[in-house]
Amino acid sequence: MTIEALGLEKRFGSFAALRGVDLKVEPGELLALLGPSGSGKTTLLRSIAGLETVDRGQILYEGIDADTISLRDRRVGFVFQHYALFRHMTIADNIAFGLKVRPRRERPPRAEINARVEQLLELVQLGGLGGRFPAQLSGGQRQRVALARALAIEPRVLLLDEPFGALDARVRKELRRWLRRLHEEIHVTTIFVTHDQDEAFELADRVVVMNDGKIEQIGSPAEIYDQPATEFVYEFLGGANRLPCHVEGGVALIAGTRLTTDLPRDFTGDAVAFVRPHEIGVARPNGHIDDVAQVRSILPIGPDARLDLEHVSGHIEALVPRESLDAAGIGVGSRCAVRIARARVFPTS
């Protein structure tokens, strides 16, 4: 199903959770809403589900205004962050709930419901556990029950709010892969919320990066990683050095290296450059002053080494092949020249 959000705005008291959000979700895609807490991603998800009414804007399901569709007819499979399982019902009853509450005319016969529950239990790898209560399951198992319950109503769209947030790291990784495979199998339009970029990049076809109630960038994981559109996205993805620099005629001087930027030819002024550690190289000092840094520490990581460098423009982290250090005779405490291979430069506002 195609879902469109047009100009969504939503306030909670004085807090603006959504400030003009436009988004189109393609049929069958797996979309991640990525952002820090308070960025509006959960509010967007809940608004799409119909659990939140927006102050302004419209949500379209297949081109139809979702406001005119009741919660029951939307057929949204929603998986809550803490699962919201019904504690007094068995796992099987939890999964069957959405079928059992249908009006009598639309309700499948009991045998069919039971068969469907069994099938879903198998799908989420919980066969034989239908008689247990939620309290008797582990976190990862509850997660899958919540998913099975959402899938039972044959949803047109599956919405997951921080689906792995409450799980420990190992289970989270396993479930992530499992969910990816499941999506490839059933291919239902899926949107999930996360604040974990690894999770978003590993799972999603497209990632929506949100900040402060607005969308910063939409793109495939590779696009987002290779071409962060804004300063915020760079900062949020983390790991990059943030170096103040000066731009003259579109050319930036970053820690002694001159680089042509994407900025207009006639741009002159202060800017900030984002440089990833592996985009930095080091060499023996060659008489220049402005590219020289002091090596504070060296941490070997496999064939590479992570360098902490102290440059006049600030602290720089570099990731270089270890042999290049030996070749240049660089050790802790020695001086070296910094070489920037690539950078993205944003003018200082």
């Binding site: 909670f12 119909g50 659990l51 939140e52 009414t53 919660l71």
Partner: protein, 278 residues
């Protein structure tokens, strides 16, 4: 947040019907009785009201009620502090049983609370003959009333303090001890400040019950006007004599005490909530 979730909002027809039922129920069972109380007390004017209270038997009842509360409440405060200290701060076998026994007076009919002391100290009771030969009177006298009152208010303070002390654990006290504080200093300067609002709350409830208890006190008092009548018993006598204005006048004093207790309770709860929030 809750009110913002559209799928949780009760539809207006439901609100109106349920709201009307609630208003009817609260009006019928809480508001109208309270209104009747004060309406009857002032039915014959303020002068009649004041005259009903300013009368020797009424003063004697007020004095006796204050005396009983002044003895019973401190006793139960000391007990409540001791009980909550050993139950909340230490582990020992039989703790669960002890907690249950402390709560016992709450689940006993007030009549039985009085009866047990009559069976113990009454003329035909266990210690009755001995007490009589030594000319000590407990039943139908102040000591009996105090005993019955202590019994019915027994759990109040302990019950408020135990959960608070348990939640606070023992680390602060242990730290105080390691810093060289004596046992008494630890209690006074660390434990007591931490539980003071809970303690006040318990005292408030204990006091309200001590002054208002009827059944238990009625059984042990003997209803001697001007001597062993507490305020609730005095209300009963006046009422049975069809002296309604006077009965309701004295009753209104007790009702004011109840309302003051509720107000103080709400204030304490509000205070506790803001302290937690800050």
């Amino acid at each position: 947040m809750r009110a913002e979730r559209p799928s949780l909002i009760d539809p207006w027809p439901v609100r109106i019907v349920v709201g009307a039922l609630i208003v009817g129920f609260v009006g019928l069972f809480l508001a109208l009785p309270l209104y009747t109380l004060f309406a009857q007390a002032f039915a014959k004017g303020v002068d009649a009201y004041l005259r009903a209270i300013d009368e020797p038997a009424a003063w004697a009842a007020i004095k006796l009620t204050l005396t009983v509360a002044a003895i019973a409440v401190p006793l139960n405060v000391v007990f409540g502090l001791a009980a909550s200290w050993c139950i909340a701060k230490f582990e020992f076998r039989g703790k669960q049983l002890l907690t249950t026994l402390i709560d016992l007076p709450f689940s006993v009919s007030p009549v039985i609370s009085g009866l047990i002391f009559v069976l113990l100290f009454g003329l035909q009771g266990w210690l009755g003959p001995w007490l009589r030969s030594h000319d000590v009177q407990i039943i139908f006298a102040l000591p009996g009333i105090v005993l019955a009152t202590v019994f019915v208010t027994f759990p109040f303070v302990a019950r408020e303090l135990i959960p608070i002390m348990e939640a606070q654990g023992t680390q602060e006290e242990e730290a105080a001890r390691l810093l060289g504080a004596s046992g008494w200093q630890t209690f006074r300067r660390v434990t007591l400040p931490n539980v003071k609002w809970g303690l006040l709350y318990g005292v408030l409830l204990c006091n309200a019950r001590a002054m208002g208890e009827f059944g238990a006190v009625s059984v042990v008092s003997g209803h001697v006007r001007g001597r062993t009548n507490t305020m609730p018993l005095h209300v009963e006598i006046l009422y049975n004599e069809y002296n309604l204005t006077a009965a309701f006048a004295v009753a209104s004093l007790l009702a004011l005490l109840a309302l003051a207790t509720l107000a103080a309770k709400a204030a304490l709860e509000w205070r506790g909530r803001t302290e937690i929030a800050s």
